[in-house]
């Protein structure tokens, strides 16, 4: 062992000091020769004769060196170098093959790495805080299908001071904060955090201090509420001024003192957020004023809660402890007996889950679609590998004479396999590098597509050690799959068979080889599965879009106005909106304008219990809208009238319901003029129905339009805040309108942040982002699968057919007609395709059920999709089989036979 090490080190030295080694060898030789000559001359031999004798003793000097040098070399390493050299030459001789091979693999590895890096960013990457594995996410189990991860403030406060298993329990929530600066008010990405937030995340501030529990009390520290800012914000807002600590920031009309700056690497506990301002949770009532959610107490579900476990505590212990503390906590904080009854009936209890990667609600939305996409990627990689392997196998068959010659010249099978492996490893390496190179680009695009609607979020998809290891494993497995089988196969036959290669005797044997056929059939089966999956997802998406929203999204623009923090309320506010609407209407491209509290498909829901006095309550979605809303949205008014500006609170509360609500509340009776009662706890409010409108979808495109009630904005009690969204129907490009809206906003309400304009079609697209990304990727992968399969099949079959040129020549010479030959070759090739298709069909029928939950209005065994997929694969397989068959028909028998 020690000896081997010694040898290895000396060789390593020799490798790096090659020139010195050569010089030393030459010197040693020269010295010996000189000594020898000296002796010969001393013994009385003539100089010339002595020279000749010396030369004879040593022979060729370069051979001498070669022999010594060999001793000092790494034999296997030098062989490897030679193999790489040779392989590069071989690959460069067939650039087409090399290109296709690299491209195929780049696609496979690239797609997998991309999707994995997204999964990594969303699900796996630990938070950049010390000992992130000690963090836990807390949730609430209430007998529902899924745990709930939003806590009411009182429940969190009940948990916050319990330290049995947690050193700290902390809560946080995203908050859009309006910061007043020199050039107007700006919307800044912020986070409300509870007192122990920073203690639990254990990250030291760059400057000043972090927020501590004392900051999270009523009124905060004696010096007023503090705010911690991010390094980014410090740079942008304060130009990295070192005296930033102690400065005041006007946030949502409240003066806060900057107490600390967090370093760039700190992102809080939500991996997708990059908050710039951290404000104490206790400040929420102050910031959000009368609309604050803290006041909703046990009824406001909004906080994400996490904890850092005590040293030594396990997740199981934490889970058990919070579970058993549940009853105590609800008895402590819940004052309403009704609520308590609900909790007890549903076996309310807290749970603790691993929180090393932090918490983001997007995880629940995207983990399953990403899983499905990942599976498709795996399929593509496998397909790429099989494709390459069968191409290489076909090439190996064509290279039999070359390999035979090399075997006959004394190459061992091991050396040949090694060289062939080096060849495929080279392909694999280049393919992987190409795949990795495009991966960040693709994942960025993908992230934008997925998170399009969540503007201020970002998934960190950068390459880290996990992605790297994954890519390495994927590529190594791929290269082994690609390289080893063909290499073993190509060298498997005995030397005798090899020597005879190219002769007719081996060809019958060749045709019977099963492995390539299995590979081809498998390829087709896999491609069929991918195509079926893509077909199902795509047709589901198309059906979703075709299903319609109940209104016309084309030409509809939404302008979000953040009016929360300005003082106008009540009638003056309505006057402001009316004025703004009129001015917008005067823009040349605008046909109508209205306002709405909630824009459909933005994940905002407002629901109330309504009844018509028969004791039965109906959960009804609500929206508060301005006059002319239904005309602007193109929702038909089926009966009754629209709202108008005269529907003020003094004229009695009015309501318009959609057909679904009319059916649910009144069945077949006419709702017009009837009274509807709203139950909100003990409070009762009555409305008069003045109109019935068509059904429009509310929460998402998937669910049918729910029973919906529309209330006039002019009778709004301000319960939900003063912010409305202007709904504008227009013709022509939206650019001028956006400018007009901005200048209108600055001239009429200078205190509010710039209004944000979003086309309705974009909102719809974004609400379907998961479906769109899945369908898009699936179609992309399916197209790739079809191309890869076509290329692979064609390549393999073309090689196989070319090898039979001789046989075909003989057949034709013996009288076979061209059509017969074409049919024979075609049928033989097509039979492989048939087997593959049936195999794929069976697996696809079994497997498509996994997609069922992603599908809308589409059966997992949709016959059209299946038929179309089979047809497209059959076409491709036929084309790939027919071309070589046609070429074989052009063979001239005489030339073919003489050729050998």
């Amino acid at each position: 062992m020690a000896q081997n090490l010694h040898e290895f080190l000396l060789r390593l030295k020799a490798l790096f000091l090659k020139r010195r080694l050569d010089r030393d060898m030459a010197d040693e030789l020269a010295f010996h020769q000189a000594m020898l000559q000296n002796r010969l001359v001393r013994e009385g031999i003539a100089q010339a004769e002595a020279d000749a004798q010396t030369r004879r003793a040593f022979g060729n000097a370069s051979r001498w060196h070669e022999r010594l040098r060999e001793l000092w070399q790494f034999r296997s390493l030098e062989n490897l170098g030679r193999d790489v050299n040779f392989s590069v030459r071989v690959l460069r001789k067939s650039p087409g093959f090399t290109f296709v091979a690299i491209l195929t693999l780049a696609l496979g590895v690239g797609a997998n790495t991309t999707v994995f890096s997204m999964i990594n960013g969303l699900l796996l990457r630990p938070l950049p805080v010390p000992e992130s594995d000690r963090l836990a996410v807390l949730g609430i189990e209430q007998g529902g299908p899924r745990a709930n991860y939003s806590f009411p403030e009182p429940l969190f406060r009940g948990l916050e001071h319990r330290h049995e298993v947690f050193s700290q329990v902390f809560a946080f929530d995203h908050a859009d904060l309006q910061v007043r600066g020199n050039s107007g008010t700006e919307k800044v990405n912020g986070q409300l955090v509870s007192g122990d937030f920073f203690n639990a995340l254990q990250t030291a501030p760059l400057l000043g201090r972090t927020l501590v529990p004392e900051d999270d009390g009523k009124g905060g520290n004696p010096a007023g509420f503090g705010v911690v800012i991010s390094e980014r914000f410090w740079e942008r807002w304060f130009n990295r001024a070192p005296n930033v600590i102690g400065q005041r920031l006007q946030i949502d009309n409240t003066a806060l003192t900057v107490v600390g700056v967090m370093p760039k690497g700190f992102i809080g506990a939500d991996p997708l957020q990059r908050p710039d301002l951290f404000v104490p949770l206790a400040l929420e009532p102050v910031l959000d004023g009368p609309n604050n959610i803290t006041a909703a107490g046990i009824h406001g579900w909004w906080l994400n809660v996490m904890g850092r476990m005590q040293p030594g505590a396990t997740l199981q212990q934490a889970n058990a402890q919070v579970g058993s503390a549940s009853t105590a906590v609800i008895h402590e904080v819940v004052t309403e007996p009704e609520m308590m009854g609900q909790f007890e009936k549903r076996h309310f209890h807290f749970i603790a889950e691993s929180g090393s990667a932090g918490f983001t609600y997007l995880r629940m939305m995207f983990s399953r679609p990403l899983g499905a996409v990942f599976a498709m990627c795996g399929g593509i990689l496998l397909l790429a590998c099989m494709n390459l392997a069968s191409l290489l196998m076909a090439r190996g068959a064509a290279r039999q004479p070359e390999l035979a010659t090399r075997l006959a010249l004394g190459a061992t099978r091991r050396r040949l396999v090694q060289q062939l492996l080096v060849e495929s490893l080279l392909i694999a390496l280049m393919g992987t590098v190409a795949g990795l190179a495009i991966s960040p680009l693709v994942s960025q695009t993908l992230t934008v597509m997925l998170l399009g609607g969540e503007g201020d979020m970002q998934v960190d998809t950068s390459l880290d050690i996990r992605v790297f290891v994954f890519a390495a494993i994927a590529s190594i497995v791929a290269s082994l799959l690609v390289g080893l089988v063909p290499a073993l196969q190509a060298t498997s036959k005995g030397l005798n068979d090899q020597i005879k290669s190219g002769q007719h005797t081996t060809q019958a044997h060749e045709r019977r080889r099963v492995l390539p056929r299995i590979m081809m059939a498998g390829e087709i089966a896999l491609a069929l599965m991918l195509v079926v999956g893509a077909g199902l997802l795509a047709s589901s998406l198309v059906r979703l879009y075709l299903s319609g929203a109940g209104f016309d999204p084309k030409g509809l623009e939404n302008i979000a106005l953040s009016m929360d923090k300005q003082p106008l309320r009540g009638q003056p506010l309505m006057e402001y909106y009316r004025e703004l609407g009129d001015r917008l209407h005067r823009q040349p491209t605008v046909t109508s304008v209205s306002f709405a509290r909630i824009v459909p498909f933005t994940h905002r829901v407002w629901d109330e219990d309504l009844s018509v006095g028969d004791g039965k309550t109906t959960d009804t979605y609500h929206n508060s809208v301005g006059p002319d809303y239904f005309n602007t949205m193109r929702i038909p008014i089926v009966a009754g009238r629209d709202f108008n500006w005269n529907d003020t609170p003094s004229t009695g509360l009015k309501m318009i319901i959609n057909q679904a609500a009319a059916k649910a509340l009144f069945q077949d009776r006419s709702p017009l003029g009837q009274t509807v009662t709203k139950h909100d706890g003990k409070a009762i409010t009555q409305y008069q129905v003045v109109g019935v409108v068509g059904d429009a979808k509310y929460e998402d495109l998937r669910s049918p339009a729910p029973p919906t009630a529309y209330l006039p904005m002019t009778q709004d009690d301000g319960d939900q805040g003063p912010s409305y969204i202007a709904v504008v129907r227009m013709t022509g490009p939206p650019g001028p309108l956006a400018d007009a809206a901005r200048s209108l906003a600055t001239s009429t309400a200078p205190g509010i942040p710039m209004p944000v304009m979003t086309p309705m079609s974009v909102t719809i697209d974004e609400s379907l982002s998961a479906e769109r990304v899945m369908a898009l990727l699936a179609v992309f992968f399916a197209a790739c699968a079809l191309i890869v399969t076509a290329v692979g099949l064609y390549g393999t079959l073309a090689y196989a057919t070319a090898r039979r040129t001789n046989e075909i020549g003989i057949r034709m010479a013996l009288g076979a007609r061209r059509t017969q030959v074409v049919t024979m070759i075609f049928l033989q090739n097509a039979s492989v395709a048939l087997v593959g298709t049936s195999l794929g069909l069976i697996v696809a029928l079994l497997g498509s059920r996994l997609l069922a939950s992603f599908l809308y209005g589409t059966s997992a065994r949709d016959p059209w999709v299946f038929a179309g997929s089979i047809l497209s694969l059959a076409l491709i397989a036929s084309a790939a089989s027919l071309l070589p068959a046609l070429r074989s028909a052009r063979i001239n028998p005489m030339v073919a036979i003489r050729c050998e």
């Binding site: 010694h6 030393d24 010197d27 010295f31």
Partner: protein, 112 residues
Amino acid sequence: MGQITDSGELIQGTLEMLVLKALLRGPLHGYSVAEWIQQTSQQMLKVEEGALYPALHRMELRGLLKSKWGMSDNNRRAKFYELTTEGQKRLNAEAQRWARLSSAVAFVMQAS
């Protein structure tokens, strides 16, 4: 391979043993090793250069010898080889093996 002058071949591995023996008295360069073996064997063993140097290098790689560059008697740069502890151990083992082998051969040849 080394050579026995009456055209018998040196038994494999024997050359290495002889080289180790030659170096037992102190560091020598390749030429002196060959010369010493030739003289000590009464000119019966002639060591060929083509075999000597690969053997020296191989033994150096294996750690039986170490080498350093120095000045020869006639003031030329020469590579001197020296026994390592490992080499000394090997020499002892080889010498014992050789003694056993040669006496065994002698027994056989003297049998009547």
